[in-house]
Each structure stands twice: as structure tokens, then as C-alpha cells.
């Protein structure tokens, strides 16, 4: 059951602001009703934590600077089961440290929002420079089979908007939701308009209200695989939360059959609702010879190249993924069946392009415009690939 309410005005800093993406993330979280933040500072994400720490007393929230990122993600699991909407923010190395317990959060169906302000890697890499190098790690980084939802903002305004969306999705599907931003968007200042609380819709947690002795923390096999309601620690319910394969009571069941039911559920609750989750922007796909598929900050650079290509008479479409995961398979498959080529610029050595290639299935050329990170593309690189794709 998805119940939407108006945002709590205490967390909403209504009005127009000139703000960077990191700060906008914190404001979006507060507007969405997040009142617990546990994190460990790391460039270039620290400003989000600072902003949340500064603002949360007036909104009635709690900020804890943890000893590291492992503790941060673990605190989120506790905070969420304690009844709060919870968030953390990190970057490259911190994201790697969180991986194991991201799996625990997926397995225990714990709603939370994790933002990764991507910087150049691997390892400590390029701490102050931009990248999009964790687009596959976010999907596959924890062990085992699971699914995630990952959103990719292209501006400070979208950092705000997608933070709210991320919380709404995490409550709806009882799962971690990721905001995969980057150093450029994180540190770029632009106008951010925060609407009044009465115009912001937030999804409330699906609280259990039935008899105490009948509560089960999980529900498998519901229509569209939607998850069951939650309760709050300390409210007198008995429940069990474990990373082991479990039944609806949460009790470990080390059997193939139980695993089939449990794992199918955490996968299908995302896969079978993908159409409802996926968001994108498409422009002039009809009749296009080449389509550029991009996401995040790279999509803004891509538009410039697309416009240059159109000026040169090349029918060029533009497709911006707002949701990277679940991947917009249907849309990309349809594009691939109609165009000569898909061009995929990204600030990594070629990550989401693999997914595009898989889905395109040889129906068109797929051209990767990749980089080793640290800077946004020069639009001329993307334009050159568009020309190559057309020929």
C-alpha cells in the first residue's frame, strides 16, 4: 500500500536558491522527510553531510558522523528499523566500503537512500575530479543476486527533485535507492527552486497496523511482488531481521526452496515494476539516424553535441536516462531497431554502454565515447562519434 502525504514543512526550505548539487541533495532529503543521516565525510560529497548536519536540528532530525562508511551504512539499517527515513552520502572509496551491508539492506528490505557523488577512481584515484565510474558497481557491487534502483541527476535542481523521488521509491519498494551524482553536479551552483511543502508529495512508510501477534516483517508473493508493511523497533512487535535467506517471519531457512521464494521476491519487486520506476527524457527519436544515450552531467554535454549534429543536417535523437537501474531496456531496444547507431558517452571506460550493447543485440552500431575520468567530455568528441555512427 502506497500512501502519499504532503511534506512536513519543517524540512522544506521553500523558495528559490542559488545552490550546489550537494546541498540540494540534503535539502531534498529533508523535504522528503529524512530525519536520520549517518555518514563519514569524503570529497566531493562532504557538503551534503555538512548541510544536513547544519539543518537537521531545526527540522527535528539527527545527524551522526560515524567512524567510517561501514558503520554509516549499518547505522542506516538500524535507523530505518527504528522508524526513520534515512540517508547517507559518500564517494568512491566509501562506496566500496558500504558494499557488504548494502546487500544486507537489500536482503532485509530496508528502505534507505544512498548518494554517491562520483569522483575519479579506482582506489583514492582523483578525489577532487568528476567521474561516472561506479555505474556498474552500484548494480553489482554487493555479493549475490539482487536488484537496485539508481537515479542520475544532471543538475542541482534535479539533485533536489530526485532526492525526494529516491525516498518515495525506497518506501514504495522497501529497498535501498541510489542517487548517482558526480563531482561536477555536486559542486556546481545553479538556481534551485524548492516548492512549498503543500506541493511536495512524499510516500509515507507502510506501517503495519494489525494485531501484534500476527505481524510478519516480510510478505512474499503479493500482487506485483509489492513488499509488506514495516514496524518500528520498540513498539512491542516481535520480528527478526537477518541477512540469511528467510521466510516471511524473518526466520532463517537454509533451503533451496526458501531461497527461491526470498530471492525471487527481492528481484521481482523491482523487475516487475520497472515500467513504473523508470524515468527518462527523449527528444527527436522519430526518424533519427543516430541517437545519443547518456545520463547525469554527461547528458548536458551530449545535448550540445546533438544540437551541433542537427545543425550539420544529421538527424540525431537524444535519450537521457534519469533512472540508470532498472535499465530502460524496452526504450533502448526500440531505439536500436530503428537507428543506424547509438552513441554512449560516459565518464568511465565504458560501463552502461555494455548494457546498451546487450539490449541492442546487434540491431545497430553501438559507439562508446569513454574516458578515464576527471573531466566532462568535449562536445566535439561526441559529435565525432555521431558522424561515425551515421556513416
Amino acid at each position: 500500500m502506497v500512501r502519499k502525504v504532503k511534506a512536513d514543512p519543517k524540512g522544506v526550505l521553500e523558495g528559490p536558491h542559488f545552490m550546489d548539487g550537494d546541498h540540494a541533495l540534503a535539502e531534498g532529503a529533508l523535504a522528503a522527510g529524512c530525519r536520520f543521516f549517518a555518514g563519514y565525510p569524503i570529497t566531493p560529497s562532504t557538503e551534503t553531510a555538512e548541510r544536513f548536519a547544519e539543518r537537521c536540528p531545526e527540522a527535528g532530525g539527527l545527524f551522526i558522523q560515524m567512524e567510517d562508511e561501514i558503520a554509516s551504512i549499518t547505522a542506516l539499517i538500524g535507523g530505518a528499523w527504528g522508524g526513520q527515513k534515512v540517508m547517507t552520502v559518500t564517494s568512491g572509496p566509501g562506496f566500496s566500503l558500504m558494499m557488504e551491508n548494502i546487500g544486507l539492506a537489500c536482503m532485509t528490505e530496508t528502505p534507505m537512500v544512498i548518494a554517491n557523488v562520483q569522483r575519479g577512481g579506482p582506489s583514492t584515484g582523483l578525489p577532487t575530479l568528476t567521474a561516472q565510474q561506479e555505474m556498474m558497481q552500484v548494480r553489482w557491487g554487493s555479493h549475490g543476486d539482487y536488484r537496485v534502483i539508481a537515479l542520475v541527476p544532471d543538475s542541482p535542481q534535479e539533485c533536489f527533485d530526485l532526492a525526494i523521488e529516491a525516498f518515495n521509491l525506497s518506501e514504495t519498494y522497501r529497498t535501498p535507492v541510489f542517487i548517482m551524482t558526480d563531482e561536477t553536479v555536486g559542486h556546481m551552483h545553479e538556481k534551485v527552486v524548492i516548492p512549498p511543502a503543500s506541493e511536495i508529495e512524499v510516500v509515507e512508510r507502510n506501517w503495519y497496523t494489525g494485531p501484534k501477534d500476527q505481524y510478519k516483517p516480510y510478505k512474499f508473493g503479493a500482487e506485483n511482488h509489492m513488499p509488506g508493511p514495516m514496524v518500528k523497533v520498540g513498539d512491542g512487535y516481535r520480528f527478526h531481521v537477518t541477512g540469511l535467506v528467510h521466510d516471511e517471519r524473518g526466520y532463517p531457512q537454509a533451503t533451496v526452496e526458501a531461497g527461491k521464494i526470498n530471492i525471487t521476491h527481492i528481484i521481482e519487486k523491482i523487475d516487475s515494476n520497472a515500467d513504473k520506476i523508470i524515468r527518462f527524457e527523449a527528444d527527436q527519436l522519430e526518424g533519427a539516424e543516430v541517437v545519443v544515450v547518456s545520463y547525469g552531467i554527461t547528458s548536458r554535454i551530449a545535448i550540445k553535441a546533438v544540437m551541433d549534429a542537427r545543425k550539420q543536417g544529421i538527424k540525431t535523437g537524444n535519450f537521457r536516462m534519469i533512472t540508470a537501474w532498472p535499465f530502460p531496456e524496452k526504450q533502448i531496444r526500440e531505439i536500436a531497431s530503428k537507428v543506424k547507431a547509438i552513441v554512449v558517452p560516459e565518464i568511465n571506460y565504458g560501463q552502461m554502454v555494455r548494457e546498451v550493447e546487450r539490449v541492442a543485440g546487434g540491431r545497430c552500431k553501438v559507439i562508446s565515447v569513454n574516458s578515464t575520468g576527471g573531466a566532462v567530455h568535449d562536445p566535439s568528441e561526441i559529435l565525432a562519434a555521431i558522424k561515425e555512427g551515421r556513416s
Binding site: H187, M188, H189, E190, V376
Partner: protein, 196 residues
Amino acid sequence: MMEVRFSGFGGQGIVRCALITGKAISLYDNKFATMTQSFGPEARGGACSSQLVVSESRVLYPYVTVPGVLVALSQEAYNLYEPELGNGGILIVEQDLVKQKPDTGRVQVFPVPATRFAEELGNRLFANLVVIGFFAAVTKCVTPDAVKKALPELVPGRFLKANIQAFDKGYSYGNEIMAAKSGASVMADAMSEGVE
């Protein structure tokens, strides 16, 4: 579209210059502005820089490529960034702190004694507001009203009045300089091709 780089050394309020101007433009002048700043090791000591891309429509590419306006408040910043300023571009320099190369006419130079003006107003920390005022008069990139609306959250309350005075000082000085140039448009060459 207009690309602007503010530069100087740490402590001169370089980042604040772009923040104030960017906020003024995007919130009160009804245009689009994207501000970025040098960040990380390159931002410590030496030359500090902030960048502003201003446009009538949404800014796509967020960084400065060929600036049409360069504000250089230190010698090192001038040395580093003057070569990238586009031909015909506007160069605003702190005249007491920057020793310029011989003028070849490649760019339009506008010297301003910003630090000295600020000291006359009581504190050299206001020099960046003198610069914004001068910048506004020369480039017409931002209106004085918008800057004054943008200021309150970006400067300490007790210094708001002094900062506005500093802005006015720079603005009126800039207008005098422009009047002396008898209204010639300095902007045409500084504009870059916009993105629709």
C-alpha cells in the same frame, strides 16, 4: 552566452564574487547562470578561480571554455588566465596588484583600484564587492538591483551596508570609465555563441 572567470589569490573573495553574481543573475535578473570553482589542490594558495556561465537559455556545458570576461585580482592569476581570454574579451584587473604586459589591443583592458577603494571604505575585504560593481557597470551582465537583492545571505549582516557601499563605489567608477569611452559597446566581442 557569456563566460566569465573571476581569479585572484585565496582570501580575496574570488569564489564569493561568482556566487553573488551568479545568484543575482539567476534569481533576480531572470537569466540562467551556472557557477563552478577551482577545487582541490589547485585551489589552495596561488591562483584561485571561479567560473560563471551566463545565458538567456539553460546553460548546458557548465565550464568556461573561452572566457569573454576575465577578472584578475592578482599577478599570478593574470599570468595564468590572461592567455585564455578570448580575442576582444574584457579584462578587468586590480591595477595596483597586477603589472600588465604591454597592451597589444588583443583584449579590452579595464583597470580598477579595487583594494584601494575598499580600504578607503574601511576594509580591504570589501574589494570583491568593488569589483562586482565595476564588473556590473562594464559588462552589464548583471543589474545593480539584482546584486543588492542577492547580497543579504552571502555577506555577514553587520557588513551588509558596507558591502553595498563598496558595490556602489565600483559601479559608479565603472560608469565613469564607460562614459569616457562614449558608450561604445564593449560586449559584442566578449559574447560567445549561445546555445538555444
